[in-house]
């Protein structure tokens, strides 16, 4: 029976949402293959996470619980995941395409000699094997790839695969794993630079500001709109280059690639370089004074107007709406 193994990335005592999306997708694929879903979770004090993983579709969870594994460390984690793969011989191994996933997946793939398709945006089953769809050339083209050999490894882009409805109390088998947790490199401290801010690449709603805001003193209009929506705040390269905001907020070909449910572009012209980073957003709203701005070609809703007028009005309307919802 085919097993699809997933890596359940944990942070702060919870499974990260992208990892749950991976489990949901694994469940869907396993059902199509007539197989089962296994997950591996690594960390310290993570035993309780098996239940949540089970509720999203995992049939079996391999738990590696060890204080020495509290912080993510490449070598030990790669060794452990590889060990699970060797022991359970899954048909496929899926990880989220997060910072950890990007670090871990290639190393596991290299150790076990598996092919790895990264940043996949769709998976399907064909003749008993998987097929993946992944973007190439900053989203200008999409490739459909199939694997040779076993297992078929992939990392899945965050915010693209739907999260299944959890079934609380769904039965799940927990297997306590033991492994060599030693590593030649040890994490001594973790310093979060954007403490409290919503991670751009995982946000469901993003409000971004561009050059149309004229100066750093006006960027607060974007931030206020973001707050009203409970959104993450992004920026175009122009304003990052000009020093208004940090590079961490840059969306685009040379910044972050995001695919939120809602992307609001304020004063952004929509050069291809920016579109490359957000064109897979589900709904795009654009606010720009220039009716010919290329952003309107990709926007679902466009407001041709002065950002200085539109943004405060939009912010007020958003606040009223969300307040009314209670």
């Amino acid at each position: 029976m085919a097993v699809i193994l997933t890596f359940a990335e944990e942070r702060g005592g919870k499974v990260r949402r992208p990892a749950l999306e991976v489990v949901s997708e694994a469940r869907r694929l396993a059902d199509a293959l007539g197989g089962s879903v296994a997950s591996v979770v690594v960390g310290s004090g993570v035993g309780a996470l098996a239940t949540e993983l089970g509720s999203y579709g995992a049939d079996r969870v391999h738990v590696f619980d060890d204080p020495a594994l509290a912080a993510y460390a490449t070598e030990a984690y790669a060794r452990i995941v590889s060990q699970v793969v060797t022991e359970t011989r899954p048909a496929a191994v899926l990880l989220p395409f997060t910072a950890v996933g990007k670090d871990l997946a290639p190393r596991v793939a290299a150790r076990i000699g598996a092919g790895l398709a990264s940043d996949c945006v769709a998976l399907s089953v064909r003749e008993g094997r998987l097929e993946a769809r992944r973007p190439m050339y900053a989203g200008k083209a999409y490739a459909t790839v199939r694997w040779e050999g076993e297992p078929q490894m992939a990392t899945l882009r965050a915010n693209v695969f739907p999260l299944g409805a959890p079934e609380p109390g769904r039965p799940v088998e927990v297997v306590a794993g033991s492994a060599d947790s030693s590593a030649r490199a040890r994490v001594t401290a973790t310093r979060a630079t954007t403490a409290g801010k919503i991670e751009l690449t995982e946000a469901q709603v993003i409000v971004s500001g561009g050059r149309g805001l004229k100066g750093p003193e006006h960027f607060h209009l974007v931030q206020e709109l973001g707050e009203a929506f409970g959104a993450a705040v992004g920026a175009s390269r122009a304003v990052v280059d000009a020093g208004w905001v940090d590079h961490q907020m840059q969306v685009g070909q040379t910044g972050k690639t995001v695919s939120p449910t809602l992307y609001i572009a304020c004063g952004i012209s929509g050069a291809i370089q920016h579109l490359a980073g957000m064109s897979s957003s589900k709904i795009i709203v654009a606010i720009n004074k220039d009716a010919d701005a290329p952003i309107f070609k990709v926007a679902d809703y466009g407001i041709v107007g002065d950002a200085f007028e539109v943004l405060p009005k939009l912010t007020e309307a958003a606040r009223a709406y969300f307040a009314g919802k209670g």
Partner: protein
Amino acid sequence: MAEREVIETDVLIVGGGPAGLAAAIRFKDLLAEHNKNAAWKLEAGVMVVEKAAEFGAHSLSGAVLDPISLKELLPDFVEKGAPVATAVTEDHVYLLTNGGRLGLPFVPPPLQNHGNYVVSLNQLVRWLASQAEARGIDAMAGFPGAEVLYDGDRVVGVRTGDKGIDKHGNRKANFEPGVDLRAKVTILAEGARGSLTKSLVGRLRLDVGRIPQAYSIGLKELWEVPKGRLSKGAVLHTMGFPLDNRTFGGGFIYGFTEDRISIGLVVGLDYRDPFLDPHGLFQRFKEHPMVRRLLEGGKMLRYGARAISEGGWYSIPRPYADGVLLVGEAAGYLNAMRLKGIHLAIKTGILAAETALDAIVAGDTSAATLAAFEDKVLGSYVKDELWRVRNFHQGFKHGLWAGLLHSGVQMVTGGRGLVDPLVPSKGYAETETLADYYGPGQTRDDFRRKKMDGALTFDRVTDVYHSGTKHDEDQPAHLHVADTNVCETRCREDYGNPCEKFCPAAVYEMVPKAGDPKDLRLQINFSNCVHCKTCDVMDPYQIITWVTPEGGGGPRYDDL
């Protein structure tokens, strides 16, 4: 201060284009020959450093290749898989008017291409790089030559660029100091307006007695079109539209494969109009009915631009000094009339390799011994060809018709023409002020950029995207402007900031200052830079110096 690593080699080649790679390959082959018969086997290392992340990534050209020197370098180049699948099948020259065209009833001999190939220089360089690697040459991509190393006036090598410096000049976590590469012979093969070549020629005054180098800018797009639009191997050259009679240049359209067309425009960098926008002219070129018919419904795949050395024989500096040789377009070995330089790059690379090996065997790499390079060039078809077209570009100083007349006379007089040498082009100094060209009262606000349709014509930023250009944005700008005050005041008044117009990649932008929006300041979007060097050539005050950015950054000219 971090200790710089020092790596010693025998031959160091800066620039992994056709000249540099030909030199590397030839050197190794000659060395193997030498060692077959020598009593003492000589071991000599060859290193090629190239700023692009991959060999070929920064190489582009029209291009129609005369295989004469490739055959010398690698006689079995076809069997070895050289990318020469497209033989030239037909040659046409047209004079384009606003809506029509006049086909020349005959193609002038220098523009006849029977026996030549339509190639992608990017593909050719990639293939040459594989040939070099097979010979054990240290082909180091991602390493820019940042600085020439001297011992007095002798060149002893090149320092590569530092890695990991942030935009404020501080070291980042991944800081690595550049390496000092020391060699017995350094060969500069940087292509047109090489940054090291420029400073070396200036410092050692290798251009004394020469006319200044002249340049053009070449812009190119690769298009995918329905099969049958243009025959594979068809070579079309145009004059006239969209250039006026006083602006040097012309268009090219080549049937590269059955469904791919290489198309471009060359514009002389000695035009008079300070508002001239070469990229805009290239986009207009495509709107001509003849051109539009070829491209309509097709898809633009890739874009690129590069300066071209046009000065000809009289502008080539002394190509040798203690410890150093200059080859290819960096020295100016390009036939502007035939529009061909690749074969001369390869040939001068070959001759440099011969010279370098002789010098190393003799244990003497001083200028006196390396001078043999110039003798070899003088005794080869490089001289024969370039001598015959020595006044070509200069003939166009007074316009298209004068140029064609001069060129015609030059063709039947072995290059002497009506006057030999003709008055050289003044290059950037030909640019007239706004007042002189347009009349008093003209300001930079009168500039209108052509509107692009996004299907046949594209704005610069979109084209830059299709050049695959990327740079780490957290690094100092690699375009050094000596005094931006000039930009804000004198240049704005006198010329209207032509850098905003001549850069084919939208690197330079005058933007409103934070305090008073009527004041403008220069913004340098360096990460758009496609390394064409046009700004280094053209700025009216000569205060822009292009230097190498962090290695690996720049365009990706796949198939260009």
